[in-house]
């Protein structure tokens, strides 16, 4: 192996976290190399995660809402065998546009991209194994680990990527199955469950938790379960799987309470594991916790000086937005650049059908921290835009009773992840609920729900 090429910053992984770290370093005038084991940059987010699933979701959403939104004026009959790839026909264009943008951004900032697998040979030296040919060595004062994660494969679920799939292989299906059982009730599980249910697949969502997406407001998840049931799906909560097996014709699932579920296909979405194998972290002194995640401090520093870890590899919230911020903050810290106050307020968007979004405190957490809190709600059915667009949904405000400060905003319904931005700014600006009442929103918009919910808060406070 040749002598190490010297860089200021080396970033392992080109997903959202790695890209932002690399760009932050390059913009500070540093020599940066980005190492990616796949041929394409962007990480799982681009080819196996966020972008493909959201592209399919758009089709499912349009299909499932078309009749309602057009008042049944245009008959719509789905073909008997719907092609999954056909429903993602725009995916190629979306990915190409995204990759072009990313490549141009990296190129513009003078960031080198090495294609290969990285491993530590010492705390500040990496060896990069390309697909073919000689290994290359590099050294860097700062190393940022952003290798991402992959679906967890539990020992008792025989994922074969044919009948029992994971979130990486689910979109390789050509035809929609008649039935789908989804193991797990986290973000990925619920997103796919609702997408396939909207496309007419009979979906059974199974999880040990009593309700799906337990980190969200129960009112939102109740809404989600209701929508799933209206589409002939069901949620089997509080149950664990005893056996999952393909019997030649279908997948048979036995649950611990004796319930039996049969499905043509199964999606195993029981969490993700960090991609740390092969990095040879022991050569760098980087430590893992009991869940196999890299241990970091508030600046994303690992146990080894000069080595940072960001994104899925350090665990929740495992959102692209937070990962990007972690990447930026890690490099800012390494270069002693002021990064601003750590963003405590990160919105959560769950792209189910219906969409859910949340920012700030839940009702329970607000009570714990603030004592007396007052909630206000607005149903989209009360809002002109909701009636016109025939969208169902709810916006819930959580406020501090003593001073009217907005503590949390929780939304379920179409456009929730866009709509939550208003609440995010309001919370960051320490707005009181009265300021939402005084704000003139465009008419008709779903944003009016903020005003209606704020009026509801005031009404509850005074009664």
């Amino acid at each position: 192996m040749s002598s190490p090429e010297v860089f200021d910053i080396a970033v392992v992984g080109s997903g959202p976290a790695g890209q932002k770290a690399a760009i932050c370093g390059a913009k500070a005038g540093k020599r940066v190399v980005l190492i990616e084991q796949e041929r394409e940059i962007g990480g799982a987010c681009v080819r196996r995660g966020t972008i493909p699933s959201k592209t399919l979701r758009e089709t499912a959403l349009a299909y499932s809402t078309f009749q309602r939104k057009t008042g049944g004026m245009f008959p719509l009959a789905a073909p008997q065998h719907l092609l999954v790839e056909g429903m993602m026909s725009r995916l190629g264009e979306v990915i190409s546009a995204h990759e072009k943008f990313m490549a141009e951004q990296l190129g513009r900032n003078g960031i080198l991209v090495w294609h290969g697998r990285a491993s530590f040979s010492s705390p500040h030296e990496l060896s990069v194994t390309p697909l073919r040919g000689e290994r290359r060595a590099l050294s860097a004062g700062t190393i940022v680990l952003a290798p991402g994660s992959r679906p967890r494969m539990p020992d008792d679920v025989p994922v074969d990527h044919e009948h029992i799939l994971d979130s990486d292989s689910i979109l390789s299906m050509h035809y929609l199955p008649r039935s789908l059982a989804v193991l797990g009730a986290g973000v990925i599980a619920c997103e796919y469950a609702s997408i396939f249910a909207a496309l007419g697949v009979k979906v059974t969502l199974i999880d040990k938790a009593a309700r799906p997406l337990a980190f969200l407001e129960p009112e939102l998840t109740d809404h989600f379960v209701g929508a799933l049931e209206r589409q002939d799906g069901k949620f089997l909560g509080g149950r664990t799987t005893r056996e999952v097996a393909f019997d030649g014709a279908a997948v048979q699932i036995e649950l611990d309470d004796g319930t039996h579920v049969e499905a043509e296909k199964v999606l195993c979405a029981l969490g993700r594991v960090a991609n740390v194998e092969g990095l040879e972290l022991e050569n760098a002194g980087v430590k893992l916790n009991s869940r196999g995640l890299i241990i970091v401090d508030e600046h994303c520093r690992t146990a080894s000086p000069g080595i940072y870890a960001v994104g899925d590899v350090i665990g929740p919230p495992s959102l692209a937005a937070s990962a990007m911020e972690q990447g930026r903050r890690a490099v800012s810290h390494a270069l002693d650049i002021p990064a601003g106050q750590a963003a405590e307020l990160i919105p959560t968007g769950v792209y189910c059908i219906p969409e859910m979004a949340s920012v700030g405190l839940t009702e329970i957490r607000a009570r714990e921290l603030h004592g007396s809190v007052t909630m206000g709600r607005a149903s989209f059915a009360e809002i002109a835009r909701g009636q016109i667009a025939a969208v169902d949904g709810l916006l819930k405000l959580v406020t501090d009773t003593s001073d009217g400060r907005i503590l949390g905003v929780h939304i379920v319904g179409e456009g929730a992840s866009e709509l939550v931005a208003v609440g995010q700014v309001a919370i960051q600006s320490n707005w009181r609920v009265e300021q939402l009442i005084e704000t003139i929103f465009n008419f008709p918009t779903l944003a009016e729900a903020y005003r209606v919910a704020a009026l509801d808060v005031v009404k509850r406070r005074t009664t």
């Binding site: 041929r39 196996r48 990527h161 009948h163 390789s172 008649r178 393909f246 030649g248 014709a249």
Partner: protein, 295 residues
């Protein structure tokens, strides 16, 4: 001597027109023949057609499927043999047809029936039994390797199998067309065995495409069959079959393919397969070769 292009009916024994006397003209005739819609390509056996039809029906169950297969003793026997082969290794021997159907699953039964049908109907050109037997074994091994690659790259596993199985389906078609032309020509066509096999090698993607059209195989599968020798392709389905094809040659003891050439294979590189992943595929060689030989 200039000849009229071969007519489609020739494949099933229609009268031959003008004589052809050279490899060059035969080749030109075959190209012209395979470039047109073929009215008389080999059909799938009746049992296979019924199995395909039944397995496409959502309400199909193992019992009704095994009933259809039972009516064709040859098919039934081969299916049991396959259900007990190493690739479908089960904890206990499969003894009944319904058990075999249940164990293999509807889709695999469909694939196996296609495989057997191809072998019995297509891969039977007198004088070339050994070559076609090798082609069939190679196709089966390619199908099994393609499945493994699909799993590694999270591509569609079912499609991978069919693409591997059918990638060389044009070979017996070309061979049969040559035999038909030779046997029915008014004058002797001087094309020796070596030249015949060279024509088969050259023209089989074209013939495969024609057959895929006649059998109403999916456009993506038809594309893989036609393009699997195209080194410039970037489509994952074609790349997968190209590399599975090389792995199958290696597994079946082809001296032209060794581990080093597999590690350097351009299709493997395009599929982003690292050496350890290729090593895992190579380690499946003995099992897959045994399974292909057993079919």
């Amino acid at each position: 001597m200039q000849v009229e292009p071969l007519q489609p009916r020739r494949l099933s024994g229609a009268p031959v027109g003008a004589p052809t006397g050279s490899h060059v003209t035969l080749r030109a005739d075959l190209i012209a023949l395979l470039g047109r819609p073929l009215a008389d390509l080999p059909l799938l056996p009746e049992a296979a057609q019924r199995v395909l039809s039944v397995t496409a029906d959502d309400s199909c169950d193992a019992r009704s499927l095994s009933e259809i297969i039972r009516r064709d003793p040859s098919l039934a026997g081969r299916l049991l043999l396959i259900a007990n082969s190493p690739i479908y290794a089960a904890p206990s021997p499969t003894t009944s047809l319904q058990q075999a159907v249940t164990r293999l699953g509807m889709r695999q039964v469909r694939e196996v029936v296609l495989m057997i049908s191809m072998q019995t109907r297509l891969f039977a050109v007198p004088g070339f039994e050994r070559e076609l037997r090798e082609v069939f074994c190679h196709a089966t091994a390619t199908a099994l390797f393609a499945q493994e690659i699909a799993r590694a790259r999270r591509l569609n596993v079912e499609d991978a199998f069919l693409a591997g199985l059918f990638h060389d389906v044009g070979k017996p078609v070309v061979l049969q067309a040559i035999m038909d032309a030779k046997s029915k020509a008014a004058h002797e066509i001087k094309v020796d065995r070596t030249a015949t096999l060279a024509l088969v090698e050259e023209l089989h993607p074209l013939a495969g495409r024609a057959l895929a059209g006649a059998w109403s195989l999916s456009p993506s599968l038809s594309h893989v069959i036609e393009q699997h020798h195209n080194p410039d392709t970037t489509l994952p389905g074609v790349l997968m079959v190209r590399f599975a094809d090389a792995l199958a040659h290696f597994a079946m003891g082809d001296f032209d393919v060794d581990a080093a050439s597999l590690l350097a294979h351009p299709a493997a590189e395009a599929l982003n397969l690292y050496s350890d992943e290729i090593g895992r595929l190579i380690s499946r060689s003995a099992t897959i070769a045994a399974a292909a030989a057993a079919l």
